[in-house]
């Protein structure tokens, strides 16, 4: 019986990991290609949630979940072209400061537009409730969420590994100088990467709004988790981030099973251990430009 309960926590942790993945993958991609830790990533997550609430008022949940990431991705293009672009080759501390400042500005802007009071968000009635498979209980909504994440993940993998776009991006991560020598400008690729990453964060916000509180500081809450996942997974590695996100979810579930109060601390302990034994993260590659 005890084993079964534990297994249930593991499965539930995998589902939760899927949601971390949406935020962490974009963060990892932007870092891998541009060398910029985008501390404003959480702000796009929050914006995704708020914009989806506005759209849902008129067009319903489905349209909101689909259109909000698109709207925020457009913001992401502007963000890349007018701000981020200036810092690819600069001292990393500058991009940290700029994106951190932007995160503060975004949080205050949300507070001014939508107010400090948290807003209610709803899922369609059909998604409410649970499904019992064998001995395991699942939230219907989270199964739907998992399906969306799997689709996004498959799409992104195909894009990165089966298209010429993906080849340039992967080459750009490892040897931007060689890519340049071949006469390919990386900048338009970077715009697309930021657009995709930011869009995924916004999708995460829109999908998580019905089950977590929508409030101005929600971006600051998620950025830490996403960053931990990226560090555990290792830079430049697609599957590293996937593995890390799932691992963080599972470890958290198991910890809460045994020591509930340590649930939120578990991922930091995990990061600590991983960094001791594998300083580059679980599947991190050696990236020359960061050495």
């Amino acid at each position: 019986m005890q084993f079964l309960f534990l297994l249930e926590q593991v499965v539930n942790g995998l589902v939760l990991g899927g949601y971390y993945l949406l935020i962490a993958l974009g963060l990892s991609l932007i870092f891998s290609v541009g060398g910029v830790v985008n501390l404003a990533h959480g702000a796009f997550y929050a914006l995704g949630a708020y914009v989806s609430l506005e759209i849902a008022k008129h067009l319903g949940f489905g349209a909101a979940a689909a259109l909000s990431p698109v709207a925020v991705a457009v913001l992401g293009i502007l963000f890349e072209r007018y701000i981020l672009r200036r810092f690819y080759n600069a001292d990393p501390i500058l991009s940290l400061l700029v994106t951190f400042g932007l995160a503060l500005v975004a949080e205050q802007a949300i507070r001014m537009i939508w107010g400090a009071a948290p807003l209610p968000a709803f899922m369609p009635a059909a998604f409410k409730g649970n499904v019992v498979l064998g001995d395991f209980l699942f939230s219907r909504y989270r199964l739907f969420l998992l399906a969306v994440v799997a689709t996004v993940l498959a799409g992104l993998w195909l894009l990165l590994h089966k298209t010429s776009f993906g080849r340039v991006v992967r080459a750009g991560i490892q040897r931007p100088d060689m890519v340049a020598a071949l006469g390919i400008r990386l900048q338009p690729y970077m715009t697309t990467i930021v657009m995709l990453g930011v869009g995924m964060a916004a999708l995460g916000g829109a999908l998580f709004a019905p089950i977590a509180m929508v409030h101005p500081a929600m971006g600051a809450e998620i950025i830490t988790v996403a960053f931990v996942v990226v560090v555990i997974g290792g830079l430049g590695s697609f599957w590293g981030v996937v593995l890390a996100a799932l691992l963080v979810g599972v470890v958290r579930g198991i910890t809460i099973h045994f020591v509930p109060a340590a649930g939120e601390a578990s991922m930091y302990v995990l990061m600590f251990l991983v960094l001791i034994f594998r300083p580059r993260g679980l599947l991190g590659e050696r990236i020359e430009k960061f050495e």
């Binding site: 309960f5 249930e8 926590q9 539930n12 942790g13 589902v15 939760l16 503060l104 107010g115 400090a116 009071a117 948290p118 807003l119 209610p120 968000a121 709803f122 899922m123 409410k128 409730g129 649970n130 209980l137 939230s139 909504y141 989270r142 019905p210 089950i211 977590a212 509180m213 929508v214 409030h215 101005p216 500081a217 809450e221 958290r252 579930g253 809460i256 099973h257 509930p260 109060a261 340590a262 649930g263 939120e264 601390a265």
Partner: protein
Amino acid sequence: MTNRRDVLKAGAAGAAVLGFPAIVGAQSAPIKIGHLTPLTGFLGALGEYAVMGIKMATDEINAAGGVMGRKLDVMSEDSVNPATASTKAQRMLEQDKVEFLMGEINSASAQTIMQVAARHKKLFLQIGARSDVLRGKNCNKYTFHVDIPVTVMVNAAGQALLRDGLIKGKRVFCLTSDYLFGHDLSKAAKAFITANGGTVIGDELTATDTTDFSPFLLKIRQAKPDLVATNLGGNQVTNFVKQYSEFGLPYPVAGFNLNTADAWAAGEGNLAGIWPTVWHHELDTPGSKAFVAEFRKRYGKPPENHAWIEYVSLKIMAQAMNATKSTDTDKLIAYFESQAEFDLLKARKGYFRAWDHQLIQEAYPFTVKPKGQAKDKWDFLAFGAAVPAANQPLEVINPPKDQNSCSFA
């Protein structure tokens, strides 16, 4: 974060001083009041309502001529965290020369401000923090407490749970926020459940930054309790309530802490169960009706309980200053300790208990209206009758002297 904000504030303050020097020194000087409340972080939403409430009271009092012919000048600032709260309180007393301090929602920040007030021998009207220890073990004679302590919240919701047969002979699973306030709440809740014939079959601590409760929901399912009782704070309550509804677990849920702002954030259809509150916007008294109407006119939405409590708190201070014709700390303390009565816009008036400085007042349980009855997005809460009942003394829901270790000696 703090630094940046402080720099901006200092800049703004500097600009104000350079820009308008002429106003300083006009007629009789205003009465300066230091007001600290969390405007950011997990209690920031409540702090926003707090500032709205105290602003409205300030404007009303000043429009009517102020106090003793002097205007009130309330400086509201973000208390941020316990350390910053203490630094700001000290600065307000030493440099800004405020007459007394008011505010707070966070129990830990309230604790540090209480120490500053005692050191400076100045009054602190502690408005919104609910931890029992503030008016118990760690009380001091310079601090008075307006909001209900956790024991009262447990009693208010607990009476409703008893009435619905959810305690006696039942197995209760608790979920507790892992900080000062949650531990206090858990202690009071367990005492109540056990004293009324229930059994606590589990009490799980959750970190204050928990946003995903799914592992806990699975554990609740394994425990198969008769009642799930939550001792959570701030954002946690809303997150828990939303996910409890998402997972569709069949066990009735209740909690001993939920502010109306958190309830509104959970939304109709997500919120269920029985909860306590210190005041609500549908209270049927002439005072509350007038307050709610004026607040709605001013801010375009109904007041939350923290808006109400800040509003009446400033009115309490104004009454005390008018009655003693003074801003002197000792005189104000003597006035409050005389058990003078205050109009709290409720059916019965309130008074401060002399030996622990707690405002004694009514509380209310609330639950959720049946689907389809809400008139707007704020209207889905169904408020119960005041606790204690009209024929009982107000004190019965408060911790009695033999269970409270407060001493001013």
